[in-house]
Structure formats: structure tokens, C-alpha cells
Amino acid sequence: MKPLCFRTFVWLFTYQKFMKDALLSSVSVHFESLIPQNQESILLLVALYRKIQNNEIDDAFTQKDFEEAVQEVGDALDRGKQIQVENISKKLSQFFYTTIKRGNEYKYQLTVFATDLVRILMQEIQPDFKNIELIHTFKRTLQLLDDDLSSIAKFDYWYINHYLPSKRVILSHTENLQRMVDDRTIALRQLMRFNEENTKDLITNFIRIFEELGRQSEGLTQTLTFKQNITDAIKGAEINFLDKKESWDQYIRIRTEIELFFENVDNRMLSINDRVQLSVSRLKTLYDTLQYKQLYKLKLEKLMLHMLKYTTRDSDGVYRFPTMIKAKHVPYHRSRLPQIPLLDFKNVEPADVPDFTIDEAYLKLKEDQNYRLLARQESISKWIENINSDLLAGKAVDFNDWFKNIYQKEKTLEIPIDVCFGLIQLYSKSSTVEFEIDKNAPYHPQEDLALWKLKIQPSNS
């Protein structure tokens, strides 16, 4: 190969530099038109793209369709001011739509750049494969048949038409998978903090996270096997490319590229797998804790039911535990300090005390009452003494006669009755005197009173 002369080299260097600068310069010049500068523009492109995808509007849509989409974006942003249709249309006109004439009417059509941009955005925000395992992406995009390895032309075709497009999808999928696992790990960490408001939500989240991680974990294992099979197949087919040096070089270039890519994917998957395993271990801890708690709670409930069932109340209303359960003690001391009322002695209002007056009539009445009581007591004592002297003299006492005698003289029944009680009290426990009561023909000093005949006589008479 002829070496480049210095002049040619300088020219090439300058040209390359110029090309680079030209690119930067071009991007810089068109920057404001190339990248939508506000939310409204991006949202409008997304809204139009979605309407086309949903067949709500045609690929070539009308001015009315455009204005309605602008209105929708305005409503979604809810900023209280209208989006200027003319302004936004101008901003997007250079790179994001083309105007085409259909009959007498001008219509809009999104550019490839606009649809690609929106698709990338949507893929990032709402990835299609959120609920799809990585193995699915591999199988659909990276399928390698034996025939693909039969010649360098077919292998090259597979590389360009299957491998290269699928590489982008696979990388995108692993990125999203990593993000999803990260999200789930964070969610799980929050779950472990026990700060959820609702137990039901906790259990639902717990099950969902477990299912997702379980599926992804299984998908990763299958992916590793699938990937290994492809590598093995490519390595095993090297004999097919030994015929020409160009074929061999091409084969080795593709193989190296694939191996490097798989190595990159391996690293990503191992990192994802580590996180999945960590989450699975956390989930298991949480599950065990919940299970243990459930069992413990059941025992608590059983004990409470047992206590409720067998605790009784005695007649004083005091509760008694069943015999198997013993009362427990806790330190407890309540000191009660009597509170002395606060008195302001400088500001005391004396209570109104009424003058004391003596009720002479009441005093006389009470005095007479006491004298009467005393006189009666004296009479009782005198009569008991008289009867007692008879008994001491060895005479039998017929209390019936005495009763009549006392009643006649004292003019009241109370005194002979009290005398009778006095005698009974005096002699009831005495062995020297005997009582003889004759219940026949009772004496009736008054109509409402009947007295049995009582004889008292010394025991030896």
C-alpha cells in the first residue's frame, strides 16, 4: 500500500475535523427545531402518534385533527391558558411533520424522525416487555438455525438482519428489567419497614412482587442457557468457514462481536440475578415473620378464649381465673397526698352564726320525761327488791298476785312487766330458784294482753 504523503494527510485530517465541526454546527443551528423545546410539543407528538396507532385519525390527518390533539394536550396540562395552535404548528413543521396535498385539502403527516422519537419515548416510559421475560425477547429475535451457519453469506445475513436489530432490543430489555427489579427492590424495602397503612395492600404487594421476581428469575436462567446454546453453535460451526481467509476473518469478527455482547449481557444479568436473589431472600424473611406472627397471634387468641370461657365471678362480683392460670404481680405503688385547700386568711367572710336561744318548754318537757323514767326505774327496783326478800326468806312467790298488786298500785302495765323481766334475768341461770309457768287460764289485765301464771319458788321448798 502506498504511504500517504504529508499534504494528503493534512488535507484528510482537516476534512475530518471539518466534517465533525460541520455536524456539530448543523445540530447547533437546528437544535431548537430538532429537539422539541417544551412539554406541549412532545405531548402533541405523542398524542398524534397514539391517535394514528389507535386508528382514531389517518396517517395523513387534517387541520381539525391537529387542533383537537392540541386541545387534548392543553386539557391534560391544565395550565389554564390555551396553546397557540399556529405557534406550535410552526415549531414542529421543520422536522416533525410534512404537509401533503390530498385533493383540495392540505394534510399533515408525521415524519419518520417524529414517529421514531415518540416510539423511543414510549418504549422508555411504558416498555412493551415489562411483563415479558428476557428469554422471550431472545427467542423471538435471536433465533439461530443450523442453516444460518452453513455459509459465511448466510451467517452474515443472520448477523445483519437478526443479530444487530435484536441486540438493540435485548439491551433495551435488560435495561428495563434492571430498572424493574430496582423498583421492586425499593418497594420491598419499604414493605419491610412496616410502614404500610393497610395490611391487605401489604399482602397483595407481597404476592405481586414475589410472582414478578420469581418469573424474572426463572426467565434469566433460561436466557443464560439459550445464550450459551447460540455461542456453542457458533463455535461449533467454525469448520464451515475455514475454506477462505475472508470467510474466516468475517466469521471471527462476528463471533468476537457476539461474544463481547453476550459478556456484556452476562454482566447485566448477573447483576439483575443478584438483586432478584437478594429480594427473594428478603421476601422469605418477611414471609417467615408473617407466618410466625400469625401462629403466635392464634395462640394469644386461644389463651384469651380460654380465659373468657373459664373465668368466673363469685357472689361478691370478684373475677376468678381457672386453676391452671396463675395471677401475676407487677410493681405498683400509688401515693395519695391529701390536698390542703388553699385559704386566703386575709379575705375571709365570717359565716353568719344565729344567736342561741333556749327553749324553756322543751327543756321542762325533757326534764319531766327523765323524772318519770327515773321514778319508774325506782318502782321497778323496789318491787323486785320486795319479791326478792320473799324468795330469800324461802317463800314461794305467786307472781300472778304480785302482778295484780303492782298493776293496781302503779296504774301502768309497764312496771309489772318490767319487774317480771327483771326477775327472769336475775334468776334464769340460778339453781336456787325455780320458775313454774301455768299456761292454762291466762290472766287478762287488758283485752289485748294475756299473761300466763308464773310461780317462783326456792328449789329446796
Partner: protein
Amino acid sequence: METENSAFEFLTRDAAVKFFAETDFVLKQGRHIQQYGQDAKLFDYVYDNYEDLAKYYEALFAVHLRKENNERDEYFYLDFPEDGHGRFIKDRYKELEPRHVIFGILLLNVYKERSFEKKEMKWEQLEQLFEESESRELWQKLLYGEVKRNYTPNEKDEVKRRAENILNFFDRLGWIEWIDSENFHFEIMPSIDRIAKLYAQEIANVDLIEEYVQEQNL
């Protein structure tokens, strides 16, 4: 055994001057100190001086200063040795009555049930438990003395008053905290778990107890 003064050097520290007296009073009154409300400062003090305080109560009062936790919430309290009450004689301890224990276990159950929710309760919720739970007849028998279809307002007031007395006792122990006692609104505290510590043996062996009682009744 002679106690060396140096063993209680912690009592000469500034923190002891500020917090020891109050801590000592409340612990001896049976309170469970936890990181909550007015007790938070006492909790910090006990937490920082736990070993010294534990030795102090062991040596001078022959009781144990315990540190326990419910989930991750720690609490401190004085506990008796297995064979007595230490120096807490006569009126310095209290026997938990069956109604205290049953109520305590009920509240502990509610606490455990609401692992991830607020532990607040109102009278209406308690009443609902007594009237609508599967064991309502047992509750009614215990609370009202008989099972009836309906109870008079006076009977209900009386039961509410009794429940209030129990909760006042729990409030003094630190097992609950009144949020609004006028409206019978309270929060169950982590230290309600103490009831489970007191009855740990019974909880663990509840099936055996039940079996034994059934055999006796045969």
C-alpha cells in the same frame, strides 16, 4: 453483701440529677418506659444508663430492670424475681386481676393485628368487639354477668365505666396512652407486649392447658 459506693457513681452524673428521681418514681410505680411523649427523655436516660441502673435495682431492691422490645420498639420496666417481690413488699405491688389480663390480651391482639396500621382505638370499636365478635357471648357473660339480647343503657354505661377503670390502670402502667379520655379515645402502646411476657408460659402451652381442662371436665 456490702455495696460499694463506687458502684453507683452514675448517680453523681448530671443526667442523674435531671432524670434519675423521676425515672425511679415511675419505674417503682410499675410504669413501662418507652420512647413516647413525656417518657421519651426518661427512656433516653434509662437507655444510656441501662447497665448501671440494672445493677442498682438488683443490689438495693432485689428486682430486675428489664429491656424488652415489641417489633422494634423497646421498653423498660421493673420485674420481680421468680421467687418473690424483692423489696417491694406489702402495698408496693399489685396482682393483675383476671379482667386486667383478659383486656390486656385483647389489646395485645389488636396491636398485633394492626401491624402496619395505627394502634388507636375508640369505645365504639371495643364495644363492637364485645357485641359482634365470634366470642361475643363469652364477653357478654364476663362483662354483664349474663347473656341477653339487649342491655339497658345503665348496664352499658356500667360496663363502659369498668372498661375505663381498667384502661386508667393500663395508662398508669404505660400500656396505653389516652388521646382523648373524655371521648374514650386511646392508643395502644408497644409495651402492651408485657402482658405476653408475663403470660409467656401460658401462651406457649395454651393447647396443653385446654387439653387438661377438657380432660378434667370429662
